[in-house]
Structure formats: structure tokens, C-alpha cells
Symmetry: C2
Subunit: 262 residues, 2 copies
């Protein structure tokens, strides 16, 4: 049943409370995005942070003005207060609770940001016949803190978090080609090979997500990851911030192919 | 003085015998190509071999008909019998001698092929600010026989020869992006990292060219190389074959940028 829902239909089910699980595998071919909602005072700096760090923070949509909760450029009737299956509420950078609707948290000065996510490029890699280990092994992609500094913007700063997918070198070369077409969903990898070169001590102990098997002849390939802005937000400690819960994304009406720059 | 000669002027000097050294560094911005000349009987099979193996054998021009020694699509007044500074004459696949003019060897059934060479993509990498070790160290690029089989065509067969340039992973990713734009000069690398995975036993002992320094934190990056068709020709043992002498290329009127597919 999952695969026959349109993004609009899925969002309507989410809004009604009928659907509240993770969105992985739903609405194949359509862009899903990472959500961050901040008060205007912080939003200006966050926008700059995204502009300065486009690989981990690729912006694909935002509120036209503070207080706008409708995001028409992302899809029909998208209400960012109700159309994400599960939200996380942070106060002073600390996670307080998860909810399925944020109407009671929404303020007149809030700005919603939608950032590209790896689901889009993973789909393009799979379509090309490449194996993605976290999908084959049915786990969360492994993610690691690195020593690659983001360029700070006001109160937002931190180091880049990366996701890792092991591949044979020839497949990694193909993945670099494919992902280069999709700068708004993290683009080409940042690094491959030696984890230590980017400050990762133990490849088998990810900081987020799950470890995956690295087979003989494979190298780890590292992409900038959407957890980077979450870490930056936590350290900026805004009074209130709302994000999606991992895996519970906003599903847009934008085809993934629309994100390809060529 | 070298940098102010146009390709046409350089070819005229070559034709007159005034210039007979290698063409590296001359006519920056213009395509230089690898030459192979074969009798028609072998040329048909060789054309198929190039078609089957476009990465090592990227064809950028050929005689319109057997016997045609003028190659107008490659530049003004290009006479392939006189406009290459140094030729190699092979009989039965064995190098016999080097000459600076092949008028006396030219036959009515001969077909000239021009294949893309790494000079073009090296220029694009340098323009992007990447270091190319063989250029920094002023030596020939190291080249290696591999276990990557070419697809055979008639009497032409063999394994792929690769060139190697060591790079930091982030630079290698950028190089993959840049070279992907240039499929007619070998395109993206075939492999990076473990030499043994493609049948190279000792990275410090290239089969052709010179060894270069691989620094800490760098990985060897391997491109398909224009020596591959030379090796295939040697094993096909045609009665007569003429190639350029390494480094002594045909300099065309085609801008390198014209080879970019995007």
C-alpha cells in the first residue's frame, strides 16, 4: 500500500494522525527533507550558517516570512506544523520531547527550514545498480563526528558530521559522479579511505546510527550529513527549536530528479 | 617562445624539420593526441577495439577513408605524415625505428587514428589548483599493466594499462568530477587505492614512465591510459603500424574545452 500513496495523500494521513511512523520507503521518487524551525532571531544566523556550509546544510526551502507555516513551493497545502510524522522539541539546545503536531509550539516569529537529505541520492545510486550497505543490512546509516570545521555564523558553529557507505573503489568513483549531480542533497562525498584523516577514531563505533559491514576490497566513503546542522543548533542553544525526529521526514511534491543540476 | 606558437605554426615547424622534440607544454589549451596508423585490414578491427574500450582508447579523429593522410577535422592543413615530431615504425608488432617523417612508409590503404591523451585532463586539473605529481617532479607519469581485461576485437586484445597520480582523497574526489567532463581523454579514473586490487604488484616499479612520490595521506589514483592500444597493437602484430613516439604528439586546433561534455 505504501508505494501507491502520493506525497499529498501521505501528508494528509500524517496530518490526520493516521500515519506517524518513519517515512523511509514511502513516495519513492519524491524529495524528503530534514526540518529545522527556529525563532527569527536565530533564523537569520542559521540561514547564513547554511549558506556558509552548503554540503552539510543544503537548503531546499524555507518560510517566506517569519511566522509562515505554509510552504507552498515544497508541495500542495504543506503545513509544516502538522505534516511531519514526528517532531522533536528542543529548549536551550536540549531535547525535551517528541510530538506529532506542533501547533501549540508555533510562534509568530518562527522560520521553518527544509534541508536536503541522503534519501534522494541513495535512490539515484540504487537506480544505477550500486549497493548501499545500510539499506542491504536494514539499519540506519552510520554517522560520525569529524574534525572538519564548519564555517561559523553567529551562534552557530561546530564540526561536520558525515555518513558512511562502504564501496569498492570503482563503485565509489561512480557514486561520486552521480552524487555530483545532486548538490542540494549533500553532493559528492567529502572523503574516502582512512577514517583517521578526518578525525574518526573507530569506524566500527559510529556516533549516530548503526555500524555496517565493510567487506574486503571496500573503502569507507564519507558524505556530509544533515546531522551537522542539528549539532550546530544544539550548541547554539536557542530557547526553542523544532526538528523532525530522525527518519520521520517532510515528504515533498518535488521529484528527486528535479534536484539534479544536470 | 614556446607558449606563443599557435598549433598551426607548431605543425608547420614540425613539418619543416625545425621542431622535433616532445610537445609537452606547447600550445597550452589545445588538444594533443596519441597516433596510431594501421593498414585497412587491421584498421576495421582496431576501430571496433576503440569502440569496445572507450576509456583507454578514446577516439577523437580518424582518416575519412583509407589512404587519407589529411585530417581536416583536427586542424588546418593537418598532414598526418609530416606533422608529428617523431614517429615509431613497428613491423609485426616490433619497434624497428624512429623517424620524423613517414611519407616513405605511407600506403594507399592506411588509416590514421587519433586518440585523446591525458595532457588535456591534466590541464583541467592544474587549472582547478590540483597538484599533479609527475608534473611537479618533472618526470613521465608512471604507468602500469593491470589485470583489467579489454574487450577483444578481432586480433586486438590485451589488458588495460593505467597511469597513476597520487592525491589526497578530497583532491581525488575533485579530480573525478573534473575528469568526468572529459570522456574523450580517458574520463574518470578506473580505480584508486590498493594497487593489488587491479593486479599491480609494486607501485614503486612502473611498467612504463617513472615512479613518483606518494606522500603520507595520499592514495594512488588510476586512469585508463593511451598505452593500452599500443600494447594491443603489439600483440596483434600487424605487418606495419606507425605511432607517435611517447610525448611527441599531434597538436590539433581543437581547444581542450571543446572536449568537455558539459
Amino acid at each position: 500500500m505504501a508505494d501507491i500513496l502520493s506525497p499529498y495523500q501521505l501528508r494528509q494521513q500524517i496530518r490526520s494522525g493516521e500515519f506517524s511512523t518513519n517515512t523511509s520507503g514511502y513516495c519513492a521518487g519524491f524529495v524528503q527533507g530534514n526540518l529545522a524551525i527556529l525563532p527569527a532571531d536565530y533564523a537569520d544566523e542559521f540561514l547564513k550558517f547554511c549558506q556558509f556550509n552548503p554540503k552539510p546544510c543544503p537548503l531546499i526551502g524555507m518560510s517566506a516570512s517569519p511566522g509562515d507555516f505554509m510552504l507552498p513551493e515544497l508541495g500542495e497545502d504543506v503545513d509544516i506544523r502538522t505534516d511531519v510524522p514526528r517532531y522533536r522539541i528542543y529548549e536551550q539546545g536540549v531535547l525535551q520531547r517528541e510530538v506529532t503536531d506542533i501547533k501549540e509550539y508555533w510562534q509568530d516569529d518562527m522560520v521553518a527550514f527544509l534541508l536536503g537529505c541522503s534519501f534522494s541520492f541513495e535512490e539515484a545510486l540504487l537506480a544505477d545498480g550500486l549497493e548501499i550497505r545500510n539499506i542491504s543490512e536494514k539499519v540506519n546509516v552510520p554517522m560520525y563526528r569529524t574534525n572538519i570545521e564548519c564555517k561559523s555564523a553567529g551562534r552557530f558553529s561546530g564540526t561536520t558530521v558525515v555518513s558512511m557507505r562502504p564501496m569498492k573503489p570503482a563503485d565509489a568513483i561512480r557514486a561520486i559522479q552521480i552524487c555530483s549531480r545532486f548538490p542540494s542533497v549533500h553532493g559528492a562525498p567529502l572523503h574516502f579511505g582512512d577514517p583517521d584523516a578526518i578525525g574518526i577514531r573507530d569506524i566500527n563505533t559510529p556516533d549516530f546510527g548503526d555500524a555496517v559491514t565493510i567487506k574486503d576490497g571496500e573503502v569507507p566513503v564519507f558524505w556530509a550529513c544533515g546531522v551537522t546542522p542539528q549539532v550546530a543548533i544544539e550548541s547554539a542553544r536557542p530557547p526553542l527549536c523544532i526538528t523532525h525526529s530522525p527518519g520521520h521526514m517532510l515528504v515533498t511534491d518535488l521529484p528527486n530528479s528535479r534536484l539534479a543540476i544536470l
